[in-house]
Structure formats: structure tokens, C-alpha cells
């Protein structure tokens, strides 16, 4: 961090506690913000390129490798897209199992973010293990919650990272009732912890900030949308994943060499927990809705620093929902629906823990992938994140550099950016000074 005649540059070379590796650069000239940049120097891995020529059956497993934090999101968005292309619907117990698996990923990922990545910011620690020295029970609870999510993924998916059980059309094997029942006790315990977490998160000090981005999330009547739904926005937009391109464009922004997603009319938008919460509050389970209300969280709630509370509410919801799905579970007769490939384009979207994840494939008559496009949440949020940063720096430019740097990092972490996901579309700029 350097200060030269009225020009201040705050640089964090490695953003810690985000998934993947990135950096942030803020340039302040004469007290006002000149430039804000979130840089990503994750090396590109070219998923869209090497998906060409692969079989549609391989897409769930291959795209899972884009991100080890939210593999289920990739697997199920890919499945949705393939099923859309081939004109099949997956419903009943198979869909419920998918939703259960996805709840597991939400629990795991949100608990990771809330307890291990984000809470240390609020409480002033560099890491969860450091925080554990003063707050051992807090970290232990977070880990227990996280573990319950991982257990769901292990039972339904086979393992916690890159589960093996997901296939186009459903699952390779449907778990037995008995297997699922082993999850009840840990999930009940997790739900208790999640309720405590809402209270705790709501008590954390937090700066006032109201976002004016348009909020975009999936919505599905009768349920808090996770693994399916239409895309809706706070600005009244409502479209199917197939119509994504008519509403959302990825722009080339010269300044940052990055592709930023925006709405066609140029509006900045935000996906993720805050968007979901505001657009789907009425569909939360009563318990989750009640917990949110008790914590003073009701829509509209647009403060990104409150995202930790929203995630906690979603934790309650995911545990509650998982328990409901388990108690209603009857194994399907067959674990998957038969799939007949045909030449077509398919579109699929689901709600990854970090927000809307959209896939599009073009396939030939044998189901070989001709073209693939994937738009993950972090790419969609990049513009909003930079916007928040700018707002924040303008407001708190008086803070000493070190302090401001940390605060900025926190502002970024509000959105839990997953840089691993982002890299296969973001231009990278290597800056290692």
C-alpha cells in the first residue's frame, strides 16, 4: 500500500478466504475513488472448449470440476440443460432426491462461508482456526453444521466433492430409506445450530448500505427455488432459462479486461442469497421465515453486509427442507428416466449457493456436445461487487489504508465470490508485483 501526493492505491494481492485466487485494486485520487477493480488471475482452464466433442452424459461430471465448492450446482444445471434438449422431465422422487442433494450443498457451502470465511471478518480474526481460540464452541458448531451438509452429499451423491451419483435423467442409484434416515439426527441438530446462527449473525455490527441493483433469481411456485424454476427479477422480468440471452448480455469492459454480465438495458444486477431472499421470501419454510422475521430481516432487505444473515436463514431453510424431503421419501422404481439424445439445444439453470448458474449446450443427434456456454454467479455479480466496493471506499476513504483494505475485502466476501467458477469466462490479468 502506497501513498504518493494525493494518490492512494490499496492493493490486496491475494484475496484470502474466497474460493480461488483473485486480487483487488482500488485507486483513490484526491480523496475520491478513481478506480476499483476485482482482478482474477486464476489461470483459464477452457471448459467450454474441451466440452466440445464430449458426450452429453459426461457433462455433469466434467463441469463439476469447474468448482469444487459447488459441484452439485454444475451437475444439476448440466442435467437440466440436457433434459431440456432431449425433451424429458424429471419429477417425483428423483427430483426430490436432487433437491435433497442440493440442500446438502447449500448447507455445506453456506456453513463454510458463514463460519469459516465470513464470520472471522466480523469478529476480527484472520481465520476460523484463529477465531476458534477465543470462540471454540462457535467454530465447532459451524463445523458440525457443515458436516451435516457433507453427510447429505455423501449419502445421496457418494462423496462430498464431485459426487458420483448424478446423471442425466436422475441418479445411478437411489438411496434406500434406511440410508436417508441416518441423516435425520445430524440434520435436526444442524437446524438447531442454524437457528442460533441467524440470531448470532443478526447481532453482528454492520454498516448501512442499500443496494439499488436489480435482483435476479429463480422462482418456482410452491417452493423456494433451488434446482429448477423461471428466472425472475425485482424489476418485474420473468423468463425461462431458454430466454436467458434475450435478457442478459455479457459485455466486454475495457477498463478491467473482464466480461461483465448485465441486463440488456444496461442495469447492474445481483444474483445470490439476497436476490433469492427478496424474490422468494414467501416460499421459505415457516420456520426459516419466522427466524428471519425474528432477526428483523424482511424484504426488501438489500444491505449486502446482511448477506451473512440471509445465508443463515437459508441454512435453516435447507435443513428444514432436507428433513421434510427425507420424511416424505419413497424410493423411485427406477433411479433415472431414460434419455434418448437428439440434435437440439438445451438450457438449464439452478440456484448455486452463490446464485444463478446457467448452462447452454448444443448437441448433435448422438448427444455429442457441439457447443457449450456456462454463466456462473460470480461472473454475473462482478459488476455489482465492484459497485459495492466503490460505494464503500467513497464512504470510508478516511480510514487508514490497512483498515480500509480489510473492509474492502469484507465487502467482496459479502458476495462469496467463487473465483474458480469465474475463471473460465473471465479474462485474466496476471499482476504479481
Amino acid at each position: 500500500m502506497a501513498k504518493t501526493n494525493g494518490r492512494r492505491t490499496i492493493k490486496t494481492d491475494f484475496l484470502a478466504r474466497v474460493e480461488g485466487e483473485g486480487a483487488m485494486r482500488v485507486v483513490i485520487r484526491d480523496g475520491s475513488v478513481d478506480d476499483v477493480e476485482l482482478r482474477i488471475y486464476e489461470p483459464p482452464r477452457f471448459f467450454e472448449a474441451f466440452l466440445r466433442g464430449r458426450s452429453f452424459m459426461e457433462a455433469p461430471d466434467i463441469t463439476a470440476r469447474i468448482c469444487g465448492i459447488c459441484p452439485v450446482a454444475y451437475q444439476l444445471s448440466a442435467c437440466n440443460a440436457m433434459e431440456d434438449a432431449f425433451g424429458i422431465t424429471v419429477d417425483g422422487p428423483i427430483r426430490h432426491l436432487r433437491r435433497l442433494l442440493y440442500c446438502g450443498e447449500w448447507i455445506e457451502s453456506h456453513a463454510l462461508h458463514v463460519f469459516l470465511l465470513h464470520a472471522p471478518d466480523f469478529l476480527g480474526y484472520e481465520s476460523a482456526p484463529a477465531m476458534a481460540r477465543d470462540h471454540p464452541e462457535l467454530v465447532a458448531q459451524g463445523l458440525e453444521l457443515k458436516k451435516a451438509g457433507n453427510q447429505v452429499m455423501t449419502v445421496v451423491g457418494g462423496r462430498e466433492i464431485h459426487p458420483v451419483n448424478v446423471r442425466v435423467g436422475g441418479f445411478y442409484r437411489a438411496p434406500s430409506r434406511r440410508e436417508l434416515l441416518t441423516l435425520v439426527a445430524p440434520l435436526e441438530r444442524a437446524r438447531e445450530i442454524a437457528l442460533d446462527t441467524v440470531r448470532l449473525a443478526a447481532s453482528l455490527p454492520c454498516p448501512e448500505l442499500e443496494l439499488d441493483h436489480e435482483l435476479v433469481a429463480l422462482r418456482q411456485e410452491g417452493e423456494y427455488a433451488i434446482e429448477r424454476g423461471r428466472i425472475v427479477s425485482s424489476g418485474g422480468r420473468d423468463f425461462t432459462p431458454r430466454e436467458f440471452d434475450e435478457h442478459i448480455v455479457e459485455e466486454h469492459v475495457e477498463r478491467s479486461n473482464a466480461l461483465h454480465a448485465g441486463l440488456v438495458d444496461g442495469t447492474t444486477y445481483l444474483v445470490g442469497p439476497i436476490a433469492r431472499f427478496n424474490l422468494g421470501f414467501d416460499e421459505l419454510t415457516p420456520l426459516a421465515r419466522g427466524a428471519a422475521a425474528d432477526a428483523g430481516l424482511v424484504p426488501p432487505s438489500r444491505n449486502p453486509f446482511r448477506s451473512i444473515v440471509v445465508r443463515s436463514v437459508e441454512l435453516v431453510h435447507a435443513c428444514d427442507e432436507a428433513l421434510r424431503l427425507i420424511s416424505a421419501y419413497e424410493p423411485p422404481d427406477r433411479p433415472f428416466v431414460d434419455v434418448e439424445p437428439r440434435a437440439a439445444a438445451g438450457f438449464g439453470a439452478t440456484e448455486a449457493p452463490r446464485g444463478l448458474l446457467w448452462h447452454r449446450y448444443e448437441l448433435d443427434e448422438e448427444g455429442t456436445i457441439l457447443d457449450a456456454r456456462i454463466v456462473p454467479p460470480t461472473s454475473q455479480n462482478q459488476r455489482a461487487i465492484e459497485h459495492d466496493l466503490r460505494w464503500f471506499v467513497e464512504r470510508y476513504a478516511d480510514l487508514p489504508d490497512a483498515e480500509l483494505g480489510l473492509r474492502c475485502e469484507q465487502a467482496i466476501r459479502n458476495h462469496d465470490p467463487c473465483i474458480s467458477c469465474a475463471t473460465h469466462f473471465l479474462e485474466l490479468e496476471v499482476d504479481r508485483r
Binding site: F14, L15, A16, R17, V18, E19, E21, E42, P43, P44, R45, F46, E48, A49, F50, R52, R54, S55, I62, R65, I66, C67, G68, I69, P71, L112, L116, E126, S127, A128, P129, A130, A132, P136, A140, L143, E144, K146, K147, G158, R159, I161, H162, V164, N165, R167, F171, Y172, R173, H252, N257, L259, P335, E409, S420, H424, E427, L428, V430, R432
Partner: protein, 258 residues
């Protein structure tokens, strides 16, 4: 007697999905005891505190795909007493090594509007292609129990007890019914390195080789049998060309069906 100095652990990331380092955070029951045993000196995914090297043990995730990373790994090696690669990317180049079979410029133009800005190498290579590696832990992703075994082995100065035989041995110990013999499902288990606990067959699918080649893989014989089960040449090429596409035995076999 003074308490012995805690060993310093560092976690590094190259081109990867973060899943293998996440495995460390997935050790929910062991994470805090581990933090008590070692000084987690460099682990960006989990901590903003960075303690300067040298480090007693470095876990390296990810493959080398850019000129900058090729330099950075040299630095990592210099500051690490022991260097252990974790996962398919670091150990074999990962799924991104599919670029090794194509022209990377074509790949770039598929993904990027302005490919000139992208700095990347022609190939994705494992860490061992750049620096000496003390131990390679297999898996895409690694198995967290094996990660703990590696950690406790290095903390206690012993060799990790990690077998390199086939997935079949784990599969049979587990009591699974063989999916290849009983269902006719092609399975890479016989040529794949153990470690996952034979998850895929337990879920009624064939192993897809995410732990890479086992100690003495006879891929040609297995490929012949898979053909009898109905795999086409293209299926075989795809089967051997995934997360360990660049591991020698799998590379050769995939090219035999190219």
C-alpha cells in the same frame, strides 16, 4: 523441555477447482486438532494471515498452465522442505490437460473474445514436470481420509500408508457386486488407483478413473473387454481421456483409440 516448534503447513493453488484444498476444510472433526498440531502458515482459502516461509510441508493443488505459474512453483519448491501434490491436477495435469491433445489457440478462441490477453501455456502439466515432488496424492478430488493420513504421516515422519493397487480390491472388501461382471457396465476400476473406497460401483456405475492409473495398469486388456461389452472406439477414447488424460498409461490407451 521446551515445547517443540510447531511445523509450518502451507497450501498452494495452481490451475484447479479448489476441491482438493476444500477437502482439508471438509475434515470437520480434525480441522481444529490439526490447527493445534501445525501452524497453518499459508492457506489463502481459509486464512488471510500469511506467515513467511520456509514451510515444513507444502500441499500443492493444481497444474501448471501459465508461464507465471511455472515460475511460481519454483519458488514454492524453494520454500518447502517437503512438497506433496494433492489431486489429479497437481499430480497428472487434471481435466485441463485436455488442451494437450488440441491446439490451445483454438481453445482460447472458443472461450475468449480477445485471446491475445490470455497468457497461457500450450499444455497443462503436473507439478512433478517442474520440480521434485516428495509425494503424490491421487484423486479428483482426493479422499479426505487419505489427506489426513498423508498429514499425520508427515507430522510423524513416516511414509503414508496409501496403497496403489486397483479400485477392485476396495470394491470387493466393501462387498459390492461387480458392475462389470453382473451388469455389463464398463468400469475402469481394474486399472484405477485405489483410494476412493470404490464409490462409483457402490452407486451402480462404472468407475471413471478419477484416481488415475494403478500401479500396474493393463489398460489394453481392459479396453478389449470393454469393447466386447459394447464400448465404441470413441467411448474408449473418452473413458481414458478425462481427469488423468495426461497420465502416461491413460494417455497411451486413449491415443490407441484416437
Amino acid at each position: 523441555m521446551a515445547a517443540p516448534r510447531k511445523k509450518k503447513l502451507a497450501v498452494w493453488k495452481f490451475a484447479s477447482c479448489d476441491g482438493c484444498q476444500l477437502s482439508l476444510l471438509d475434515c470437520e472433526d480434525e480441522l481444529l486438532p490439526l490447527a493445534g498440531e501445525v501452524e497453518i502458515a499459508h492457506f489463502l482459502e481459509a486464512s488471510s494471515g500469511v506467515v513467511a516461509g520456509p514451510y515444513d510441508l507444502s500441499l500443492v493443488e493444481g497444474s501448471i498452465t501459465t508461464p507465471e505459474d511455472a515460475e511460481r512453483i519454483q519458488h514454492v519448491r524453494r520454500v518447502s522442505r517437503r512438497l506433496v501434490t494433492i489431486g489429479a491436477c497437481a499430480t497428472a495435469g487434471g481435466i485441463q490437460a485436455l488442451r494437450n491433445f488440441a491446439d490451445v489457440k483454438d481453445f482460447m478462441s472458443v472461450v475468449y473474445a480477445t485471446p491475445e490477453y490470455v497468457s497461457t501455456l500450450e499444455t497443462s502439466t503436473p507439478i512433478s514436470a517442474h520440480v521434485p515432488v516428495d509425494y503424490e496424492l491421487h484423486g479428483c478430488p482426493i479422499n479426505k481420509h487419505q489427506l489426513l493420513e498423508v498429514l499425520s504421516a508427515y507430522l510423524n515422519e513416516r511414509r503414508p500408508a496409501i496403497p496403489s493397487y486397483s479400485v477392485c480390491i476396495e470394491c470387493k472388501r466393501r462387498g459390492n457386486v461387480c458392475v462389470m461382471v453382473a451388469h455389463g457396465t464398463p468400469c475402469l476400476g481394474p486399472v484405477t488407483h485405489a483410494g476412493c473406497g470404490a464409490i462409483c460401483p457402490s452407486y451402480h456405475r462404472g468407475c471413471y478413473g478419477c484416481f488415475g492409473p494403478m500401479e500396474s495398469p493393463n489398460t489394453a486388456s481392459l479396453a478389449g473387454w470393454m469393447q466386447r461389452l459394447g464400448s465404441s472406439k470413441r467411448d474408449l477414447l473418452r473413458s481414458f481421456r478425462t481427469y488423468h488424460a495426461a497420465a502416461e498409461p491413460f494417455r497411451e490407451e486413449s491415443e490407441a483409440h484416437g
